[in-house]
Amino acid sequence: MLRAVQIGLWALAAAAVGVLAYLQWERSPSPERSVAEDVVALMNGDVVVGGAFRLIDQSGRPFTEADLVGRPTALFFGFITCPDICPTTLATLATLKAQLGPQGDDIQVVFVTVDPERDTPEQLSLYLSSFSLPVIGLTGAETDLAAMREAYFAHARRVPLESGGYTMDHTSLLYLLDRQGRFVEVRPYGEDPQATLAALRALLT
């Protein structure tokens, strides 16, 4: 009898964890904060961005917030099966870094996937090798990625496609961090590239 109750409780706990995980996924980072509020807060610099996270890079090595210290960082969220914005962001960064000259090489570019189901380290490694600039691709368990997004006030949502697959809606901002790994500002996707260039240059000073 006691054993049955015990099993029942465990089942209940497991179900609760499942529901919570689902809610987290659907409404990450947290239900009470809307996407729009977070973007405004990020643009205004009204929030403390960043924190501890533990992910892995495209060669399977752990990558944490400690790895953001030492070099300025340009970080954004994306996924491989993204036809437009992700390759455009990478191509734009390649051009802007080239415009900065050798100094630009100091900036590390970090691509954090919002689609760990498809974006394994192997896939990330393959994908990122197609670009002329070195990029650190990060993936991990969905819970770890969700926690990282929460720390960066970023959002991601899975959207089913008619063809049977799915796509991801996601925060499209470019996050700039200084040499100490501290958040400096976000730059909106599609802004005048000269403005992004000026922001990258400011990171190097």
Partner: protein, 184 residues
């Protein structure tokens, strides 16, 4: 990149070039001499981007022009190079990129609709044979009135052709001069 710069220089020589540099269009119709043609819906300026390794999705861009006095509607799209091709609408809604499939696309009478990066586009999914720069991807578009219109999308390199490249190309001196063209 060199070809693009040359095209831009040529464009500058011909006109004041008051508009932002448009991607060069090399369609056969560009050079054709004016001749009496039937007024009909056309699809031009088709392009896509080379797919990064392992990426099975790509966006397709083109311009649909409808010079007729009757509105038309794009109802279906297909390509032998993708498991599925859909019409998508993408929007950056306040810092979040969203993408949705749409069922059809109205083409106004005597009007045009552009499918371009950051907005309406064709979405290839299940691309098993990668798109490589320089090749042409066949696409068939089915319209309510015009019927099936076949076109090809020119595959452009993964890098280059972004607004940042256009800005760098437009800058005659200084920074742009030291910028190496990526991907060459």
């Amino acid at each position: 990149m060199r070809a693009f710069l040359f095209a831009c220089a040529a464009a500058l020589a011909l006109s004041a070039c008051s508009q932002p540099p448009a991607p060069p269009t090399m369609g056969p119709e560009a050079a054709s001499t004016p001749e009496p043609t039937r007024v009909q819906l056309t699809v031009t300026q088709g392009w896509t981007r080379a797919t990064p390794a392992g990426a099975q999705a790509a966006g397709g861009y083109l311009v649909i022009e409808n010079p007729t006095l009757e509105a038309d509607r794009l109802t279906a799209v297909s390509s032998p190079r993708a498991a599925a091709l859909e019409i998508h609408e993408m929007a950056d809604v306040g810092g979040v990129m969203t993408m949705r499939a749409i069922q059809g696309l109205d083409i106004p009478a005597t009007g045009q609709v552009s499918l371009q990066p950051g907005g309406l586009h064709l979405m290839f999914s299940g691309v098993t044979e990668p798109f490589t720069a320089g090749e042409a991807i066949p696409v068939a578009l089915t319209f309510q009135n015009a019927g099936v219109v076949e076109t090809v999308l020119e595959v452009r390199p993964i890098e280059g052709g972004t607004p940042a490249d256009a800005a760098a190309a437009a800058q005659p001196e200084g920074e742009a001069a030291v910028a190496g063209a990526p991907g060459q």
